[in-house]
């Protein structure tokens, strides 16, 4: 076969391919966005999530809690997972009549200091709507510190803002009772006593 024949056959073949698939290839090319890039570089809509952000926020919040409540309360929070604040009313023996267990992002539980009886659950939170991309939840340590400060500074105001329920609505009463025992063991007393009024168990 001569070179000329091969060239003619190639041209004819290319023509047939163009006729058969040309319209589809053209439509595909038109559908493809002009500004398409293989990488998201330079595209502000592509924000990679930062997995360390929440951890860093929690560390900062714990540091604030430590500075505000002191080393002892901070260590108690780290060990027990909650804070405690005692009510203002005190009996003749100086022991407060009630206290609060303050859990992060869970209800506050009031209890009778002498008997350990659970009194109420107070469902309350501090939704931060300033930056929706980060959610509304404060870091755990910030949440418990905010509850503690509000209880110490304006107990009635916080209780009024909360939804009050009987014990057991959200938290397992058995678990809370065990926490009261853990609290007593941590402080080395048979019952949580007034030394912890400042929030330290």
């Amino acid at each position: 076969m001569s070179i000329a024949a091969v060239a003619i056959l190639s041209i004819v073949g290319a023509g047939l391919v163009a006729v058969a698939f040309g319209p589809d290839l053209l439509a595909l090319a038109r559908r493809r966005p002009r500004g398409h890039r293989r990488t998201p570089t330079g595209d502000p809509s592509h924000h990679l999530p930062d997995p360390g952000r929440g951890l860093r926020a929690e560390r900062r919040a714990e540091q604030l809690l430590r500075e505000v409540l002191g080393e002892e309360s901070y260590e108690a929070y780290r060990a027990l997972g909650f804070l405690c604040s005692y009510g203002a009313s005190e009996g003749a023996d100086g022991i407060p009549s009630y206290g609060y267990l303050i859990y992060p992002h869970k209800p506050i539980v009031s209890f009778d200091v002498r008997t350990g009886e659970l009194l109420s659950e107070y469902c309350v939170n501090f939704p931060d709507r300033s930056e929706p991309e980060h959610g509304e939840r404060l870091p755990d340590a910030d949440d418990v510190l905010a509850k503690w400060m509000a209880l110490r500074g304006d107990e009635r105001g916080l209780i009024d803002a909360a939804n009050m329920h009987l014990p057991g609505r959200q938290l397992d009463p058995g678990h809370v009772r065990r926490d009261i025992v853990r609290l007593s063991e941590w402080t080395g007393r048979s019952t949580p006593a007034p030394q912890g009024r400042a929030g330290s168990p």
Binding site: A57, R60, Q63, D128, R137
Partner: protein, 81 residues
């Protein structure tokens, strides 16, 4: 004195810092304080008495903040959960 704010995704953020006994710095502290209250934030001042007992006071005006307070902490208002 430091003014800090609790924020989701951040932990606490420093809003302003200054000496309230210096007029110019006090003005900056007052401005930052008012901005937070205008946004609906609650403000608390942690305190510690001579015996080491920790307490907190809720404040609604900069004039209520003790002059020797180390920090004022702002946080979102409470809502029933």
């Amino acid at each position: 004195m430091k003014l800090v704010r609790m924020k989701s995704g951040h932990g606490d953020l420093l809003l302003a810092e200054g000496d309230p006994e210096v007029a110019e710095e006090e003005a900056e502290l007052i401005e930052a304080f008012r901005r937070q209250l205008d946004q609906g934030m609650w403000a608390a001042v942690p305190t510690q008495d001579a015996g080491g007992r920790r307490e907190a006071t809720m404040v609604r005006d900069f004039a209520e903040v003790p002059r020797d307070a180390e920090r004022v902490i702002f946080f979102p208002p409470a809502a029933g959960g």
